[in-house]
Symmetry: C2
Subunit: 358 residues, 2 copies
């Protein structure tokens, strides 16, 4: 039924990922088997492979949590999903615990992340809970000039900032500031722009800034070239020149660096919202009482709840958020070379690994 | 009509406040004159008098922003307020600007704070905008065993944490942690308890902890005696023993100290909300990405919007929040001695200054 089933597993940190054949089991109740169309390579994967970050599932484990594909096997209670094109959420909540029943999906204690809690998407097939699967309209996909593999990155790189944007309450005419304009930050720029905000993008990489200027950033600022007071002044001038409010800026920290976090915090003003999307173990020193004096807030954002996936995907299918300029398809069997290339900074676009055709 | 009108004004930092007679002018459109029943002495007043904090209005200026009293003069458009017993909000938004129209009262750029932007309540009379005045039901006041002067502290010490509690979404059965259990923190304990939370109070002053145990703190922890890991463990044990959620604690930082902020931030867990109510210029070092990993948030809180005052006052009039054990009436003419006593830590209760009867 499924043809050859194999995956590339991590056996130990830094050791080459190895090809492993496995027998796809019939899905248990509530589960499906998805034939992988593509799986994006995220910095979280590199963290497991190159750094000290531990997977919650014991090794050997296939990494990969940005998965799109087609359902090829179902259980009795998931039969409606058969043959459907889907995106698998990067974080799959259980849907039934106390937290889920109160729509606090992000903190579901039973959540499953492929390539972390369960076998991931650097494989021909994955077995996952059906809860939260996002159906992909293949006619619209084709109209948008996309293949199913391309929307794999919606599973995390697009939806995570999408949830942050929704939670921030961002609306038409708002001033949005995105710190860290590559990868997730780039999609944050596109999403905020698509939803009507006036977007300032800040990075230390001029190349990334030049790219994102064509995709929704009305102003780009290089934090390597501008001292912080000048950066702040530039943002204020942008607001004034465009008739925007001086207050209530919505700031998205996507760099996952202490320097970026300091910049983001320092740009807060009266009524600001700072969305923390990027991750770093590093600490930063802040005047916490600014939050009180500014009546401002900080919103941490983990993953994206499944109910928001269709709207995020709509932005892509309606061509309001562009994927193709930011992704690059690579064959799955090149996974070790691709990991090294991403790690060494030799790939500027997000790699999507495509299992070989049978 | 108004009898003698005078106020105690600050001429310079550290110099004794001086008695000044003034002519109460007929209120302008939108304004009223309130005959002061009582005005609470807040640490913000001490900040202006003893520290480096600048008033926005030039000196000389009467301080004092926790005011209750009776309307004794009105303009044509405020005539309905005549003779009414009222509480004046500590922060009076204009009610008509762009921010106010979107209910962002806390960041109204035209907001007036008595004793900071305009002449304050250490006086026999104050002239203030009528917008946001909170009427006081004198029959209920009497039933509660209170005088009009007593509810002056509702203007800030009760309403500021009340807004923070409302914004946090706190509800029955939640775990609330209050860091800094005196003054504003004490009312935070009472309010959170009145709204059904299970409240842990943390302080470094055992006396304050002993008092607040009788007013809604189910557990008190002395941060001077417990190392942080033990503090954290005590909170977790409290949650377990009382069948509360391990996640989504709501933490109120009321100490306005770097140590308290570190404690409050360190106690955050999955889905936590940290409300920043206290103020300090000091900085703290934090791992900002914890907000992302925990899907948690921090909400800064400035003052309280006028629409919430009646509900906060209801808690007092219904005796669900006690004032009398925490306040002490003093004659207004003793203001200089009272300031010194509060500054030196010789008054454990909040002083309410009462103008002499005519």
């Amino acid at each position: 039924m499924m043809g050859s089933t194999h995956r590339w597993v991590m056996n130990a940190r830094h050791e080459p990922l190895l090809l492993e054949n496995f027998d796809a089991l019939p899905p248990e109740a509530g589960e499906v088997v998805v034939k992988v169309a593509g799986c994006g390579v995220c910095h979280t994967d590199l963290g497991f492979f190159y750094d000290d970050v531990q997977t919650r599932h014991a090794l050997p484990l296939a990494l990969g949590h940005e998965i799109s594909g087609r359902v090829v096997a179902t259980a009795d209670d998931t039969a409606d999903w058969m043959d459907k094109a889907v995106i698998i959420p990067a974080v799959i909540p259980c849907g039934s615990c106390d937290a889920c029943q109160r729509r606090r999906y992000a903190i579901c204690p039973n959540q499953k992340m492929p390539g972390n809690d369960i076998q991931g998407g650097f494989a021909t097939h994955v077995q996952v809970p059906a809860f939260g699967l996002c159906p992909v309209d293949e006619a619209r996909l084709k109209d948008a000039g996309l293949e199913l593999a391309d929307v794999s990155v919606v599973a995390d790189a697009v939806t995570t900032p999408y949830q942050a944007v929704v939670r921030s309450g961002l609306t038409t005419g708002d001033l949005a500031i995105v710190v860290g304009a590559g990868g997730v930050g780039g999609y944050t720029v596109q999403i905020a722009n698509a939803l009507g905000a006036n977007v300032v993008a800040i990075d230390i990489d001029q190349e990334k800034l030049d790219v994102i200027r064509g995709f929704g950033a009305a102003l780009t600022l290089n934090a390597k070239e501008l001292a912080f007071p000048d950066l702040k002044k530039s943002v204020r001038n942008f607001a004034r020149e465009n008739g925007l409010r001086k207050t209530e800026s919505i700031i998205f920290e996507c760099s996952g660096s202490a320097a970026g976090q300091r910049t983001a915090y320092g740009l807060m003003t009266y009524g600001s919202t700072l969305c923390v999307i990027g991750f770093t173990m590093d600490k930063v020193e802040i005047r916490m009482s600014n939050l009180m004096a500014f009546d401002a807030r900080m919103l941490g954002n983990w993953g994206c709840e499944p109910a928001l996936y269709p709207a995020a995907l709509d932005l892509v299918l309606d061509k309001r958020v562009q994927l193709l300029p930011f992704v690059e398809r690579k064959p799955l069997e090149a996974i070790n070379e691709v990991f090294d290339a991403v790690h060494d900074g030799r790939m500027t676009r997000r790699a999507i690994l495509i299992p070989e055709a049978e």
